[in-house]
């Protein structure tokens, strides 16, 4: 008897544990009410981003911005007879989870386009699934050049997947852009390069290193950190003793924040420079007071300063989203809007109805999409990359990111 009640309790606990885990990932599942305006066809725009875990600040910004785009399209009846719905899945920043999500989107016939993911490594794992289903994918944040230009992008550009597009600028431009700023404007000559060995971080660090050396800078040390830990003291001590006057970090803010803090604590009062992956309010929180003067490059011009973005910022506020739109809000909105425009084109070409092979038609239409979005003119080149190649340098001042310089890199 005792034994049986014990089993019951254990079963209950295990069930509880499972439910909790499920809660974690399903919390926001499809939790959008993008206004189900009067009948017609429903088109689902998928969102794949890290909605939980330490990158969730960026991921939730992406999800909310796509949701906003769908709401506005429904309200303004941008596409006659079509109601847009947003379905979001959480990839936890993990390539394997991202791939499962991609399969889920493919299986749902109503999904005609997916916005996401945030991480280049996740994007890598999703591309093939989407491409074989001819489902269009627009990433607001992937910056690794190989995703759209092939692994040999430095020598021979070949587009690997026809269904992959992005509104973000690639690291092929971002790394050199940062190197140019660090060398010419900040006048730093000795860099210590650190990355987290992920697709994004390692790629970005490599493009920075190459450009920095070409300009005449010296690389006094390299390190690869383990993104699972928070203790970088051994690395920080190495940085201090290397005599570097700047640290370049290829990676994301959950590691960059503590890294910056520990480097300064070790006694090296030198700025940490990173890419769009550290351009988050959370970086400043994690880096603490020592983070002042740290730099980040991010894709596009600052959303707040663009006249085209005023409406987006205002609408985002009106909708009352709990989380900020963060670094990729504008790009996510534009990505979603690109899908909406493509669907519109397909529907209009087919006498106001969705054709049977809507997915492949949307892919074709996406190639020719062109409109004025939040971040400027949105259109794609022959590789699916954004034609808008703006970048901005931001610096930490008084506890926020302030924009320092906008421009583009012309190699």
């Amino acid at each position: 008897m005792r034994q049986r009640s014990l089993i019951a309790i254990t079963a209950a606990l295990a069930a509880g544990a499972l439910t909790l885990t499920a809660c974690g990932s399903r919390d926001d599942d499809g939790g959008s009410d993008s206004g189900s305006g009067g009948g017609g066809t429903t088109v689902v725009i998928g969102v794949d981003a890290p909605l939980t875990g330490d990158l969730s600040a960026l991921g939730l910004g992406i999800k909310n911005s796509v949701d906003l785009a769908a709401k506005i399209a429904n309200k303004e009846k941008t596409v006659d007879g079509v109601t847009f719905k947003v379905e979001s899945l959480d990839d936890q920043g993990q390539p394997s989870v991202g791939q499962q999500n991609a399969t889920k989107f493919v299986a749902n016939d109503d999904v005609l386009g997916v916005v996401g993911p945030l991480n280049s490594s996740v994007g890598e794992s999703m591309q093939k699934v989407f491409d074989s289903a001819k489902l269009v994918e627009v990433s607001p944040a992937n910056t690794n050049p190989a995703l759209s230009q092939g692994v040999d992008w430095q020598t021979k550009k070949v587009r690997p997947y026809k269904s992959y597009f992005r509104t973000a600028t690639t690291d092929a431009i971002q790394g050199p852009f940062a190197a140019e700023y660090v060398y010419k404007d900040s006048k730093k000559r000795k860099a210590f390069i650190i990355d987290d060995k992920k697709t994004y971080g390692a790629g970005l660090a490599a493009t920075f290193t190459e450009a920095f050396k070409k300009l005449g800078g010296q690389v006094v040390g390299t390190e690869h950190i383990n993104p699972d830990t928070k203790d970088f003291n051994a690395v920080a001590t190495k940085v201090k003793n290397s005599g570097a006057d700047v640290v370049y970090y290829g990676g994301e803010y959950p590691q960059a924040g503590p890294l910056s803090k520990q480097i300064k604590a070790a006694g090296a009062k030198i700025p940490l420079v990173g890419g769009d992956g550290i351009y988050s309010a959370d970086f400043i929180k994690l880096a603490g007071a020592g983070g002042t003067g740290d730099l980040a490059t991010s894709v596009g011009a600052p959303v707040e300063e663009l006249p085209s973005a005023k409406e987006f910022v205002a609408n985002y506020k009106t909708e009352g989203y709990k989380e900020a739109y963060e670094a990729y809000g504008g790009y996510s909105y534009d990505s979603a809007w690109a899908i909406i425009e493509a669907v519109k084109k397909v529907v209009e070409d087919n006498d106001g109805k969705l054709p049977d092979d809507a997915r492949s038609k949307v892919v074709d239409a996406m190639q020719n999409v062109s409109f004025d979005g939040v971040t400027g003119k949105v259109s794609f080149d022959e590789f699916g990359d954004a034609t808008n190649k703006q970048l901005t340098v931001y610096a930490v001042e008084n506890g926020t990111w302030g924009s320092v310089k906008s421009g583009t890199y012309n190699g």
Partner: protein, 310 residues
């Protein structure tokens, strides 16, 4: 400048952290032969307990001198409550079951605790900042110490001394030794083994709580995932030192921490090994060390008996 002293101190600090957590693994294993994989999460909830005291119970702007002891108590209360609750509701019902059952339960509990904090603690979906002690850094020769490090340097040996005294000199401590040696015989001799097991879980949680506060002070942030990797490392430290042996846990922790740090700092300087020297490889070197130790001393550095007696 010679960076060896600084790197040794870095390793010592990291290792003390591992050691404080490892004590919980080793004590529970020594007495019930259970690898309590939820121990990392007991550590994590302790950190959130301390933060709760600071943010929601103490008035704003309380000096850290007053706040710190109270935060420690808060961390201990939460950790001990979670650990004792886990023992009572998750492990005790399975005491007669095959060993794998409580092990799987422990893993499930670990996930459940992580997700519970993620879901219900305010703003815990990303890392939360932990209050810092003002002052510092201190320079001793070529070594730089932060104020948070000083706390760890003081707390870790004190905890160890307290634990040694408790286990060797008190009645309950001797009961623990007896239970570890042979639970059935200890029971026959009048030792309340159920209570001893609860005490072992609670004591482990107390040290995890000290480690949690030290961790928050040292890194300035805590998050719901912090216990997972640290817990695994601490478990490794416990095995390295000889699981079941409380001093072994500390020695194992320090050995592991120093090994990781030195691997990060120096392997790259060895000709031919430059690409194996970065921090991302330090775990590999640490585990090579573990394998070497276990090859020559299967019972761990300080282990007295073979780990698995059954």
């Amino acid at each position: 400048m010679n960076e060896l002293p600084q790197q040794l101190v870095n390793g010592l600090l990291l290792g003390s952290m591992y050691g404080l957590i490892a004590i919980g693994y080793t004590m529970v294993y020594g007495i019930v032969q259970l690898i309590n994989f939820a121990h990392g999460e007991i550590f994590m909830t302790g950190a959130f307990g301390a933060l709760t005291v600071y943010l929601y119970i103490l008035p704003d702007g309380t000096s850290m001198l007053i706040a710190l002891p109270l935060m420690l108590i808060g961390a201990m209360v939460v950790s001990v409550a979670v650990a004792v609750g886990a023992e009572r509701f998750a492990y005790r019902p399975l005491r007669g079951a095959p060993r794998l059952a409580p092990l799987i339960t422990a893993i499930g509990l670990s996930l459940a605790l992580q997700q519970a904090v993620w879901a219900w603690y305010p703003e815990a979906k990303s890392a939360r900042t932990f209050p810092q002690i003002d002052g510092g850094p201190f320079h001793i020769g070529s070594v730089t110490l932060q104020t948070g490090d000083v706390f760890l340097f003081v707390a870790a040996p004190l905890s160890m001394a307290f634990l040694g005294f408790f286990v060797m000199r008190t009645r309950i401590g001797r009961g623990m030794q007896a239970t570890a040696q042979d639970r059935d015989t200890a029971k026959l001799m009048g030792v309340n083994t159920d209570r001893i097991i609860v005490v072992a879980f609670a004591l482990g949680a107390v040290f995890a709580a000290v480690g949690a506060v030290a961790n928050g002070l040292k890194y300035g942030q805590i998050d719901f995932k912090m216990g997972f990797i640290l817990g695994l490392k601490a478990f490794t430290a416990a095995v390295l030192g000889g699981i079941g042996n409380i001093y072994g846990a500390m020695i194992g922790g320090i050995t592991l921490g120093v090994a990781e740090t030195l691997a990060t700092a120096y392997i790259a300087d060895i000709p031919g090994l430059d690409q194996f020297g970065s921090q991302s490889w330090s775990d590999v070197w640490a585990f090579i060390l573990l394998i070497l130790v276990l090859l020559f001393r299967p019972q761990g550095l300080l282990g007295e008996r073979v780990a698995d007696r059954a």
